[in-house]
């Protein structure tokens, strides 16, 4: 990639930049929040790092994503969802050989459609996280049954668990952990509003207490067609822009004004920077799921990362997504297509970061509403809780599993029935580990994931170590 800035940026410089921004600040309701400015951010913002959240809307089925492969687990898998399973023999080519085997001879294979990810795992650049999910504190089945443990509200509800994953709060949440990470680090960026970038609409994940998301399409920002002339009138065109950015006394008008201001102010800067993006040769395969633009979204993220220096960016958090994972039906027919799409996109994105020379500066991770039941409902599976997730990147300590392998069962020690897993690795631990790699100091972690202290001294601790 291009030359990186090597100048050491001091906290004082950052503050100067930040206040200059807020004055020039056409940009946004950007607030210089001294209290929220982390020491880690100020101290080491000389490099570039990106976090990329890949959200699988609908609740991804864990057992047909990371498929039980050893004879014991496979037999349970087959018994619980006959007709929906991969043949054991079909899994040989994608069986994982981790650097650290699981206890008890447990083995897994990637679903065959995820074959493009196998070399990334074996090369040590992908980690597999077992039984991850939303928790408030470490939770055992006995505690769950006794009602003696705090639980996330509205478990198994799509919209609320999407929100809880992103924000540690159900629908209506006002900040997410991606945004709260950005609160601590955005002051190191040349343009604070280019810290949290959503290529997939709106997500609370990317809003912090001061950080706001900037939304773009996979083709980039959208130009206002009537920017210089509206029906031949420059005065009318100017007024149109003034209306879009002007807001108003009503709270909704003000919110519109903030969006319009970001849209118009950032368009020139971002589109100009993108013209500098180096050509890459990695091919993103055509979308296997015609309703998904995940590949295009990730391709755009790679382009943004490639012009990070033009934009003065040091830390960026991206959000991309793909949907249709709510496989109550069609687990055997639709889900493989979704996985093909996912595997192709993740692999092409990883390869592009390698090509750009930034693989170790980019960490990509999956997220989803929840996992699903192990037990079938005939032709699909219903809502669950814990699930499997992937983390990819050159800095990932990959080629192995993280977390605790759950007992696969219908009504076993690790599920609340039908193989709906009680998570043993919380989203908070997942987030804290990523945040620490990104540069958030230990003392700032609680501002990102308020419940992280609940995991101090737990089996996996507050840093799971996968990156």
């Amino acid at each position: 990639m291009k030359t990186k800035r090597t100048t050491t940026i001091t906290r004082r410089t950052l503050l100067k930049q930040a206040s200059a921004l807020s004055v020039a600040g056409a940009a946004t309701p950007f607030v210089v929040n001294l209290a929220a400015m982390g020491e880690a951010a100020a101290a080491t913002a000389a490099d570039y790092k990106a976090l990329v959240c890949v959200f699988l809307y609908g609740g991804n089925d864990y057992a047909n994503t990371l498929v039980p492969y050893d004879n014991n687990q496979y037999a349970i898998y087959q018994a619980q969802r006959p007709g929906l399973t991969y043949a054991q023999s079909a899994l040989a080519a994608t069986a994982l050989t981790p650097s650290l085997p699981l206890p008890g001879g447990a083995q897994y294979a990637l679903a065959p459609e995820l074959a493009p990810l196998l070399p990334v795992f074996q090369a040590g650049a992908m980690g597999v996280l077992l039984n991850v999910g939303a928790l408030v504190e470490p939770t055992t089945k006995a505690q769950y049954q006794a009602g003696s443990v705090r639980l996330p509200p509205k478990l198994l509800s799509h919209n609320d668990q999407q929100s809880y994953w992103q924000a540690s709060s159900p629908e209506g949440a006002v900040s997410g952990w991606g945004g709260r990470i950005a609160d601590l680090l955005q002051s190191g960026n040349g343009t604070a509003t280019l810290t949290c970038i959503n290529v997939s609409g709106n997500a609370v994940f990317l809003t912090g207490r001061s950080a706001v998301q900037y939304s773009v399409t996979p083709a980039g920002p959208i130009a206002l067609g009537t920017r210089t002339s509206l029906q031949g009138s420059t005065a009318a065109a100017a007024l149109l822009q003034s209306l879009l950015t002007g807001g108003g006394p009503h709270e909704f008008q003000a919110a519109l004004g903030s969006i319009g201001t970001r849209a118009l102010d950032l368009y020139d800067q971002v589109s100009a920077a993108l013209t500098q993006a180096p050509a890459t040769s990695t091919v993103f395969p055509a979308a296997a799921d015609p309703q998904s633009t995940l590949g295009a979204q990730l391709q755009f993220v790679a382009r943004m990362i490639s012009v990070g220096s033009q934009l003065g960016a040091k830390r960026q958090v991206f959000f991309v997504s793909t949907s249709r994972f709510d496989t109550h039906d069609g687990l055997a027919t639709l889900h493989p297509t979704l996985l093909t799409n996912l595997g192709n996109a993740l692999r092409a994105f990883y390869d592009t970061t390698v090509e750009l020379g930034v693989a170790s500066q980019v960490t990509t991770f999956t997220a989803s509403d929840f996992g699903r039941a192990l037990t079938a409902n005939n032709d699909g599976t219903d809502h669950g809780w814990g699930s499997v997730h992937f983390v990819l990147g050159g800095s990932v300590n990959g080629g192995r599993y993280y977390g605790i392998n759950p007992t696969l069962a219908n009504g076993g020690p690790d599920d609340i029935g039908q193989g709906r897993l009680i998570p043993t690795l919380s989203v908070d631990q997942y987030a804290a580990t990523l945040a620490s790699w990104f540069g958030v100091s230990a003392s700032d972690l609680a501002t990102v994931v308020p419940n992280i202290a609940n995991y101090a001294g737990s089996a996996l601790g507050t840093n799971v170590g996968f990156v």
């Binding site: 009138s233 009318a236 519109l256 849209a263 809502h383």
Partner: protein
Amino acid sequence: MPTEQHNTAGPSLVEHGPAAPLAPLALAALTVAGCSGGSGGGSSGGSSGGSSTPPPALADAQASRFLSQAAIGHSRADIRSVASSGIDAWLSAQFAMARPQRFWDFLVANGYADPTNMNTQSGFDAMVWSQLMGSSDILRQRVGLALLDQWVVGIDGITGSWKPFTMAAYLDVLWDNAFGNYRDLMEGVSTSVAMGLFLTFLGNAKANPATGAIPDENYARELMQLFTIGLYELNMDGSQVLSGGAPVPTYAQADVSQGARVWTGYTYATTDNTTPDRLRLPMIINATRHETGATSFLNIDIPAGTSGEDARRIALDGLFNHPNVPPFVGKQLIQHLVTSNPSPAYVSRVAAAFADNGRGVRGDMQAVIRAVLTDAEARDDSQAASTSFGKLREPVTRLVQWARAFNVTSPTNLWPFGNTSSTANRIGESPGRAPSVFNWFRPGYVPPGTTVERNGHVAPEFQITNEPSLIAYINYLHAVIVNGAGEAQPDYSALLPLAADSQSLLDELNLVLAANQLSAATLAKMKTALDSIAADTSAGLNNRIRAALTLVMAAPEYLVLR
């Protein structure tokens, strides 16, 4: 409650309906406001002065504001109609209006039942836009869209052949029942092929002890969470019931698993797929695949051996009579039509109308709609100065409002607006194309990092509002304002005589589109800008009209309806 009670609800209830106690108060207030308010227009008023003519029931601006809440879109003629008849009579007339055409009949009449269309979506968008933009039952269209925002089915989430017909049959269920009883709506949706496919209970089977397979829980869950009772127990004013300071969940996972047993055995009425006809027949229940063991969820008990049809009746009656339904449904209807953050008192008045229409009938939608639209909080014209009342106009209603205001027609019924869901070059929303059962936006959405959030409010439509979608909306609206869409062309002839005088042009657009909610300051800026366009040629006049429309429909004072 016995189901026959609601079956008596029909047009005959309308005249002296439930909202009657509210209506006189609201109308009295309106009459007073009407005298002092002034329409702000005056450009075409013919009947204002004559002593022999009775005064209008309400001012033009009040009529326009009402229609912006009640109608899918409206024209100058609609404003005149409401202003002269008053709200109550207008509602009664709309309730009594037979549907000019049903969705299904549009598809058939326009040749889409041809086998070559069996595996396409041909005709779907045209059908939807023909109703929203062209059908004269503008209240039903608006309520139908609101119902579709709650009882979501999206065409890309269903499988099988003849998808436009599957959707047509479903939309007809919503539109047919929009002025009926909510319990009938529940029944119609619960037996529709479209919902059976979308929430995957068509083909659902009872538990299989041999394989361990359990019934699909999809519909059982969303029927409770999204369509009837929601997640927490509610008071009649929409607030949560608290127990020891904590909200009380309405159901647990066990209720979902039990409820799922009701929705087993469902299948198509016939295997004949050569025509679309089975898609509008209610699903039937294959008894051998239906769960007949005793089922219990919430406080609903279904004895062992109950038939599938009876199980459905018991389950839906139980849900329909749950105390959450009136505030849950009532508040969402308010949010879709009037304001994102209604007062608890407003919610409770609407919920009361849902619970009892004044004649002992629960779920009378005409009573609910009347209560929503005639409530003093909705009709209070001083809300136009509020900094929190109202809603961000839903993108679809903005596009349709433009089409209605300028009499867009489609001579060969192509209505070529197509799929408008792109956030890059359309409006970021397309009716009947929601990405999931959680719709384009949720009633509880809070735009983070905004004053809305700091005020503790919600703003549902902001879930689909962001940098690309806002700019794309402006670009697309400008394009259709200038060019129309194929054969669907606007008629600006009524504006042409006004365009030489920018103020007159703006006054007219402000009244028709923005219910006179554009401020004097904004209008002054617009006038200055428009005056920069010479009005001495036909092209100049047309440019003024198009620029004025674009500016008005981009203005925050228009986009936020108060």
